[in-house]
């Protein structure tokens, strides 16, 4: 099993979620994060002083999938989240040893 983390533009969240649902993904966890990257933030002015906001709002999607699904999920996220403009975000893939469903105690693939 793998964990796929995707940092995307917030307004793309619904699209990505729908795309993932369409390929059969049934679970994911999302959080609001702030991203710092090549896409520069913007300048705000407050009471006469300019200052730059370096962190931009992003959404982070985490989902655990079985190894076989990894390529398809990644490809789906890439497609749905892409605008082609800087700041589209990243996908990170990392190993997971075990998954447990709290409700039933199921483990492994059954628990996803």
């Amino acid at each position: 099993m793998k964990k796929i983390e995707a940092i995307i533009k917030p307004f793309k969240l619904d699209e990505v979620k729908n795309a993932l649902t369409k390929i059969g993904i049934q679970g994911m966890t999302v959080s609001e994060v702030r991203g710092f990257g090549r896409q520069k933030g913007h300048t705000e002015t407050y009471r006469g002083t300019e200052y730059s906001i370096d962190f931009l709002p992003k959404s982070k999607i985490e989902l655990i999938v079985i190894d076989e699904l990894v390529p398809q999920v990644i490809e789906t996220i890439e497609r749905a989240a892409k605008t082609g403009k800087i700041g589209d975000g990243k996908i990170f893939l990392s190993p997971v040893d075990e998954v447990i469903r709290i409700r039933t105690g199921e483990r492994g693939k059954e628990a996803i």
Partner: protein, 450 residues
């Protein structure tokens, strides 16, 4: 921008060449009726002024957090701008002597006037207001807060996508031209008033005129990004702070006691007591009706509909607050409360995107309230044996305003679109107008979902 700087310039010039007039009016022996009337008019005007805070909070509460600074800014600046525009031009067009279509004298509040003299004793050029025994400046201030209300109605309907300075320009033209010209017809001694058209406190003058501008503006702008899917599906865009919206509705409600109660422009005990009670009962009935309408039609009692229902009841009773009975007011409010729920749904269906329901509240119920005078006026209303005559006059007035307003707003909005553009860029809209238009955030310490 250039246009605006130009106006500002004219103002400043006007100011500097204007002789000192204010002191001219001598001190008289205290006339106690004038005292009481003036106290009443100034205090009710203050309540009406407070409605600006109500509009600001209702409207920003019913929009998204990322646009809150923009909406608040619009609702603040609109009254500032109207103050200057109505002082320089609007008040004269509306109330000065002229022809049935336009007042044409006394700009910058500089016309001859010997208020608080009334009736025959009045010598001046604002004769359409010669019936109220308060000083000219009290008359002006009371009328100014009404003009401000008409202008601020628009703000909500065009929210979350209009350019800040384009709205600024529209506000100026609304307060200087669109509102006062039509106002002249009805309250300034113009042709509709001569016809017998009744609009006590402005269901038409303030609310419908504001509502038409809102409808035309919202239609020209088009819906907010993401509101209507390509498949025609409606995606609701919930307001970000229902606490603010509720505060706003209460402020509007109390403001309305001034709005209707002060429109006698005199502290006459019987009429003002009746008017204020009618105002309250229509609002209460509107709230109850909207609760049940939204409960029955939509499954749950929607707070934003409850608030809209109250406002609808208030708009509905505005034209007839002096002429309706208490039970009549309740019926007017009940109808308004139901109307507003279905009107909101209707405009959503036809893809006129009005984030706060301004069109349903002010235009639809402004029309309803004006119409209702023909039914519920206890002397000339159809239901009270007055025959259909008043009703027909009311319809005539509704139509006249509909036609003129549609055209005038279309022209004005299009000129502004040409000159400065109307809508912000897609990117700015997505990121929020607060950063794009103002370079700041409303809630920088809070984690937001965007």
């Amino acid at each position: 921008m250039k246009r605006l700087s130009y106006f500002i310039l004219i103002f400043v010039l006007a100011i500097l060449v204007i002789p000192a007039l204010a002191g001219a009016q001598g001190k008289e022996a205290p006339n106690l009726k004038v005292m009481a009337d003036t106290v009443w008019v100034l205090i009710t005007a203050t309540l009406v002024f407070f409605m600006n805070a109500g509009f600001a909070t209702v409207e920003s509460g019913l929009c998204r957090a990322k646009n809150a600074v923009n909406i608040l800014s619009k609702n603040v600046i609109v009254f500032c701008v109207t103050s200057l525009a109505f002082w320089a031009v609007g008040f004269s067009l509306m109330f000065a002597d002229g022809n049935p279509f336009l007042g044409l004298d006394g700009f910058f509040l500089l016309g001859l006037d010997n208020s608080p003299a009334v009736g025959e004793a009045y010598k001046g050029i604002y004769s359409s207001l010669n019936w109220t025994s308060v000083p000219l400046y009290a008359k002006f201030f009371f009328q100014l807060v009404f003009a401000g209300t008409a202008a601020t109605i628009v703000s909500g309907a065009v929210a979350e996508r209009i350019k800040y300075f384009s709205f600024f320009a529209f506000s100026f033209l609304m307060g200087a031209l669109i509102y006062p010209i039509q106002g002249h017809w009805i309250w300034g001694g113009g042709w509709l008033s001569q016809l017998g058209f009744k609009d006590f406190a402005g269901s038409t003058v303030v609310h419908s005129i504001g509502g038409w501008a809102a409808l035309v503006g919202a239609s020209l702008l088009g819906p907010r990004l993401g509101k209507y899917g390509s498949d025609g599906k409606i995606t609701p865009i919930p307001g970000h702070n229902l606490g603010m919206a509720t505060i706003g509705a209460f402020i509007l409600w109390i403001g309305w006691f001034g709005f209707n109660g002060g429109s006698t422009m005199a502290a006459d005990p019987q009429p003002i007591s009746l008017i204020i009670l009618n105002t309250n009962m229509a609002a209460a009935a509107g709230g109850v009706a909207a609760t049940f309408a939204s409960y029955l039609a939509l499954g749950k009692p929607d707070l934003s509909m409850l608030l809209n229902g109250i406002l609808a009841g208030l708009v509905g009773i505005t034209a007839g607050a002096d002429g309706a009975t208490v039970p009549g007011s309740i019926v007017i409010g009940l109808v308004a409360g139901v109307l507003v729920v279905f009107s909101v749904i209707f405009f959503d269906r036809i893809k006129v995107d009005d984030p706060v329901g301004a069109i349903s509240v002010h235009l639809v119920n402004g029309v309803w309230g004006t119409f209702a005078v023909g039914l519920f006026h206890r002397e000339v209303g159809l239901f009270y044996g007055g025959g259909p005559k008043q009703l027909l006059i009311q319809i005539a007035g509704i139509l006249a305003v509909a036609i003129f307003s549609s055209l005038a707003n279309l022209i004005v909005w299009k000129i502004i679109r040409k000159a400065m553009g109307l809508r912000v860029s897609e990117e700015e809209e997505m990121e929020g107008l607060d950063i794009g238009e103002h370079g700041m955030e409303a809630y920088p310490d809070f984690s937001l979902k965007l």
